[in-house]
């Protein structure tokens, strides 16, 4: 996805071994190859001993197109997919603590409702909202809440997966594929596996 200024964004999903130092290996690789991490989400996967990471990487197109191939060279990275140009669904999550004294509380709650966000904590002068969705939706809610006084905004990185259906999403994550650009990622050749 083009961001302007010659900068492009790619979404990478990787299954990695849950071992000490894996994140250091990956972040070191990103640093020395000049890949800028826009967001990173890590958590245990459905496979025991494996974590799944979702990266959003930004940089010049020629550079970020190599992220997946470079990641795949790491021994602890079991699988890696550049899912930028695929039909994916993705979510981010944000916790927003907003000033909400009695005078404005109902207006804040109304907005929270419209955006299908949950109130997860109520203070005397504030509310904490939980919202998940696409980036635009979260950005918009934050923008709207600004006038009430944002006390704290905490956002996660993006988590993404390939769609199981053929329905294309909107703001929740379908990237516009740049059909004119060649795809660099090659099929991994079949051969002897690491397990012998």
């Amino acid at each position: 996805m083009a961001l302007g200024n010659g900068t492009f964004q790619r979404t990478i999903s990787a299954l990695v071994q849950d071992k000490p130092g894996v994140l250091a290996r990956i972040s070191g690789l990103f640093r020395r190859r000049g890949f800028n991490i826009a967001s990173l989400a890590v958590g245990r996967s459905e496979r025991p001993g494996m974590s799944r990471m979702t990266f959003v990487v930004e940089g010049p197109d020629e550079v970020v197109r190599h992220v997946a191939a470079q990641l795949d060279r790491l021994i602890d990275v079991v699988e890696v997919h550049d899912i930028t140009e695929q039909n994916i669904v993705w979510r981010e999550l944000a916790l927003i603590k907003v000033s909400a004294p009695a005078a404005t509380r109902s207006e804040v709650l109304e907005l929270a409702n419209v955006y299908r966000s949950n109130v997860i904590d109520i203070g005397i002068e504030s509310l904490t909202l939980e919202i998940s969705g696409g980036r635009q939706k979260i950005d918009t809610l934050i923008e709207l809440l600004k006038k009430f006084g944002l006390l704290e905004v905490i956002r996660t990185g993006r988590v993404a997966t390939l769609r199981g259906t053929l329905i294309e999403g909107e703001d929740d994550g379908l990237f516009q594929a740049d059909a004119s650009a060649p795809t660099y990622i090659l099929p991994v050749p079949t051969g002897e596996t690491g397990s012998v």
């Binding site: 990695v16 071994q17 130092g21 079991v78 991994v188 050749p189 051969g191 002897e192 397990s195």
Partner: protein, 560 residues
């Protein structure tokens, strides 16, 4: 069947099971438990280096020259950090190595203990993979994994860091335990469709050039390269590290291209309509300005590492696989061809651009030394070099006849590689003649390894191209820094003959062209190591030259 052993014993048994017969290293506190069991394993020959960098380069030279995995030992802290240059050198050139370092005890890790250094952290970007092993039970499997990773796929160095108390802990070792690396795949044959596409381009090409890189050497595909080149009559340009993958007295041999390569090789690559790259990563010393590199050609890139495809140069036909396997797939699909006109044109380029012509001079020049070495040894010695002008003259003027007889630090450009790499090459090839072509700068970076040479009775021959200068630095300051010469002169070089004699090594000094061949013959005949101090009066510039980041249009063939 599982054995119950100490961590140190597990390491030694696992090394022996991997076929290791020699280790280069130096002991220190944290690795002493490992040295403490070496006497139980007499088949594991230990060669005591004088500096850990020397141990690493010797393991590297051993690995390059034999194809086996080179092994180095070092202790924690400074011992381990001294290895780092050697690891980086091996990493850049994809050399299979395993380094085993001692680490402070497990409870002391992270406390800034005496001689503690985070070597797994430090070496992460300079190794193919590395380990910190926290249980003796894991040691055996880790050693076997490390060797598997080091020698398969795109080979490279692997470091295993072992805390002192893991060496002494008792653990179980099962040599038969399977390796489990779910994230590691070793490319074998390439996808048939990729090979088909490459074959079609080759069969259509009118002006094809093979660019043979280090991958050809590492996969030992010399016969296959010859078969393909001869079948379709394709000229072979080798990269700097591809040198000695193709005999240089063969009519199709077309030298090496790039910054200091032969002009005709650079021109052939530039004028080609197809470049068939086997195992070269289109290094910046070859391509210069990527946007002006061989713009009229299509490119086939055969590489075992998918991450190299389209990294520097966009190619029409990527082929990902083991080079040896790909040759096997490709050769039957390539039609016989003659390319008479193109080969005549290449001969014409060679005649018009005689890059190997040595300028007329009565003085002793670096080129004379290499030429004489090439003539006297008939191009059949194993040559190692350092980095700089002497390296390029060696690459240009030594006519390599034997496969895999050229050992040089190409990617990392490590000065000082020349002295210890020759040790490794000689240990791995006790019956072959090993000549190290040295610069006086690089030689002084690792000359302490002369003691290792003597101690192990290795008949290595060193030729120092001694001009009391950092020659390449002098040249660049002259070319690109307005002749503002800084820190380029060595005003206090030792008397290298006396230095050799201090080590009880035979020293010979040569100051005249006429004495060269006799001196080299004398060195060859001497049953032991020799240092030949070749006194070159002044710094000569090295040609041809394509300035960094430029293209063949800016090629400077000889001084004005």
């Amino acid at each position: 069947m599982s054995k119950h052993l100490s961590g140190s014993q597990i390491v030694c048994e696992a090394l022996l099971n991997e076929g290791v017969d020699v280790v280069f290293g130096i002991p220190g506190g944290a690795i002493l438990p490992l040295y403490g069991v070496l006497s139980e394993y007499p088949d594991l020959r230990h060669i005591l280096s004088r500096h850990e960098q020397g141990a690493a380069h010797a393991a590297d030279g051993y690995a390059r020259s034999t194809g086996k995995v080179g092994v180095a030992f070092a202790t924690s802290g400074p011992g381990a950090t001294n290895l780092v240059t050697g690891l980086a050198t091996a990493m850049m050139d994809s050399v299979p190595m395993v380094a085993i370092t001692g680490q402070v005890g497990r409870t002391a890790i992270g406390t800034d203990a005496f001689q503690e250094a985070d070597i797994t952290g430090a070496s992460m970007p300079l190794t193919k993979h590395n380990y910190l092993v926290m249980r003796a039970d894991d040691l055996g499997a880790t050693v076997h994994e490390a060797f598997h990773i080091a020698r398969t796929g795109r080979s490279g160095p692997v470091l295993i860091d072992v805390p002192k108390d893991v060496f002494t802990e008792m653990g179980d070792y099962d040599p038969e335990a399977p390796i489990d690396l779910p994230g590691y795949r070793v490319p074998g044959k390439a996808d048939e469709s990729q090979v088909e596409a490459a074959a079609e381009l080759i069969n259509q090409a009118e002006r094809p050039v093979i660019l043979a890189g280090h991958g050809v050497v590492l996969s030992r595909s010399f016969d296959e390269l010859m078969e393909l080149a001869e079948k379709a009559q394709i000229p072979v340009v080798t990269t700097l590290l591809g040198i000695s993958s193709f005999p240089e007295d063969h009519v199709l041999s077309t030298g090496f291209p790039g910054m200091h390569g032969m002009a005709y090789a650079s021109l052939a690559v530039d004028e080609a309509d197809l470049i068939i790259n086997f195992g070269s990563r289109f290094d910046d010393r070859i391509i210069g300005d990527a946007s002006r590199f061989s713009t009229g050609s299509k490119k086939i890139h055969v590489d075992i590492d998918p991450a190299e495809i389209n990294k520097s140069i966009r190619v029409e036909a990527p082929v990902v696989g083991n080079i040896k396997d790909v040759f096997g797939q490709l050769i039957p699909k390539v039609k016989q061809a003659t390319h008479v006109g193109w080969l005549q044109h290449i001969e014409h380029l060679k005649a018009e651009h005689p890059s190997l012509k040595i300028p007329e001079s009565d003085r002793l020049m670096g080129q004379h030394v290499v030429k004489a070495l090439s003539d006297v040894t008939k191009g059949e010695a194993i040559i190692t070099t350092g980095v700089g002008q002497h390296q390029m003259w060696a690459a240009q003027h030594y006519q390599f006849k034997n496969a895999n007889s050229w050992l040089s630090s190409g990617g990392a450009g490590t000065m000082g590689y020349e002295v210890p790499s020759a040790i490794g090459a000689q240990v791995g090839n006790p019956d072959k003649l090993v000549w190290s072509i040295c610069g006086d700068g690089g030689f002084q970076m690792t000359l302490m390894e002369l003691a290792t040479v003597v101690e192990n009775k290795l008949p290595v021959k060193y030729a120092i191209l001694n001009n009391n200068h950092l020659g390449m630095i002098t040249q660049w300051q002259g070319f690109f820094y307005n002749g503002d010469y800084q820190a380029e002169t060595y005003t206090a070089n030792p008397d290298f003959v006396k230095l050799a004699e201090a080590y009880e090594i035979k020293g010979i000094r040569v100051t005249r062209q006429d004495d060269l061949e006799a001196a080299i013959a004398e060195a060859n005949a001497h049953d032991g190591p020799v240092v030949v101090d070749c006194v070159i009066e002044k710094v000569d510039d090295l040609y041809p030259m394509i300035p960094a980041g430029q293209s063949v249009q800016e090629l400077i063939e000889e001084p004005n």
